[in-house]
Symmetry: C2
Subunit: 247 residues, 2 copies
């Protein structure tokens, strides 16, 4: 075949986007059009629409009532920093209208330490070359987060971080497209700031920090990025929507 194949976005991705925009425009509590009608408007089958809607219900964005209708939930987690969707700090700040800057940037390639090897899911005795990206994110000169990414060299190397690096390793991986990313498993811990962090983040030694340890998985279940982030309290508020188990 000589004709140029243009990659079409799969229907369910497109519907997710469109529906998300639609919901944001609607007042909380508004009833959505009936499924058959909405499916027609979006140009997909009802089955596809329903599958997408289910993920929105799961996230608490929509509420469905059998025999009655589908409604926009009265909260708007989309505008806030919900943890269900993995988003770079950079994009998150952008969405919130905040300007972030990178400071104390440190990029190096070396062998992974034992704990890093473990975090990346390799066997204990594996020798893994990794890219380390350390930096402090500041807002108006004030440090708000300390980020550290560990990525095996196969996925990313020093040269991939251009001069325009704005703090997000995730965004680089996403823009590149390979490997395909699926989910991140993020562990949540409260930790005291040790002297080193206290200095980097310009806070008192012994302050409480929120620590997020994330393993970013590709579709074939490999760990692409192992990252450890510390957040200074008060600048970002994290939340998560939890659905009530119907069992």
């Amino acid at each position: 075949m000589d004709t140029i194949e243009l990659k079409i976005r799969p229907p369910h991705i497109q519907v997710e986007e469109t529906l998300s925009e639609l919901i944001e425009q609607l007042e909380p509590g508004t009833q959505l059009p009936p499924e058959p009608k909405l499916a027609q408007q979006l140009g997909v089958s009802r089955a596809t629409l329903r599958e997408v809607m289910r993920t929105f219900v799961e996230r608490g964005v929509l509420a469905r009532r059998h025999g009655v209708g589908t409604f926009v939930a009265s909260r708007i987690p989309v505008l806030e920093t919900g943890l269900e969707v993995l988003e770079s700090l950079d994009r998150m700040a952008d969405r919130l209208g905040v300007v972030t800057e990178v400071s104390a940037l440190e990029v190096l390639e070396r062998l992974a330490t034992p704990s890093e090897v473990l975090g990346l899911g390799y066997p204990e005795d594996a020798q893994v070359e990794v890219l380390i990206v350390n930096r402090v994110i500041t807002v108006e000169g004030e440090p708000v987060a300390d980020l550290r990414d560990i990525v095996p060299l196969g996925y990313l190397c020093k040269e991939d971080l251009g001069a325009d690096f704005h703090g997000s390793v995730l965004d680089i991986l996403l823009r590149r497209g390979t490997p395909m990313l699926s989910t991140s498993r993020t562990q949540i811990v409260a930790e005291l700031a040790n002297p080193k962090f206290a200095e980097r983040l310009q806070i008192q030694k012994g302050s409480a920090l929120l620590k997020l340890v994330a393993k970013l998985y590709s579709y074939d279940e490999k760990v692409v990025d192992y990252s450890v982030s510390y957040f200074v309290p008060g600048h970002f508020k994290f939340h998560v929507m939890r659905r009530v188990s119907q069992v």
Copy 2:
């Protein structure tokens, strides 16, 4: 009609249960049977099965690859708890084979303080009578969490907490069935233990605590339970599955 109508569990609920059990029994990375076959085994249509599977994919429990198959994602360590599903500490501990006990139980009815009124979503100047339930959860005599629930008296009163109260207000609300609960919006903060908590939880003053502030919503979007929980580090590990935004 004199015959007793027995409430049949809706298919998608039943499938969710069965599928959940099935997945737990399988090794991570195992491929599931093809959808048509699995649907037949579970006694539902493929469409219904797919809708349920999508929620599992959303939660990162399953990974689907177009044209290849569906796989069980990397196993979540047993000691940890995903935050996507709201579950009482009680049930959680039960699931992990840990015996919890309630101590320092304090139950009272009074008017809500301004911050509580706010948390419950009432107008600023509202006078709301609430039930307050304070307690410390211990495992083998060691305090692991400090919980405080604030529930408007319309939903729950002192008498509803029987002598067999085992620490979970959520379980009581669930067992009762009304109001129907939908989701909880939980804020995540790191905080230092003040002297009062340090004593209650038998930890050093100035330790870092993980604080979860949760608003539990009913289907009609009212706040049913406003709760504040403090967790001692090391006993429970919380995590959340974050899906990569395809946008």
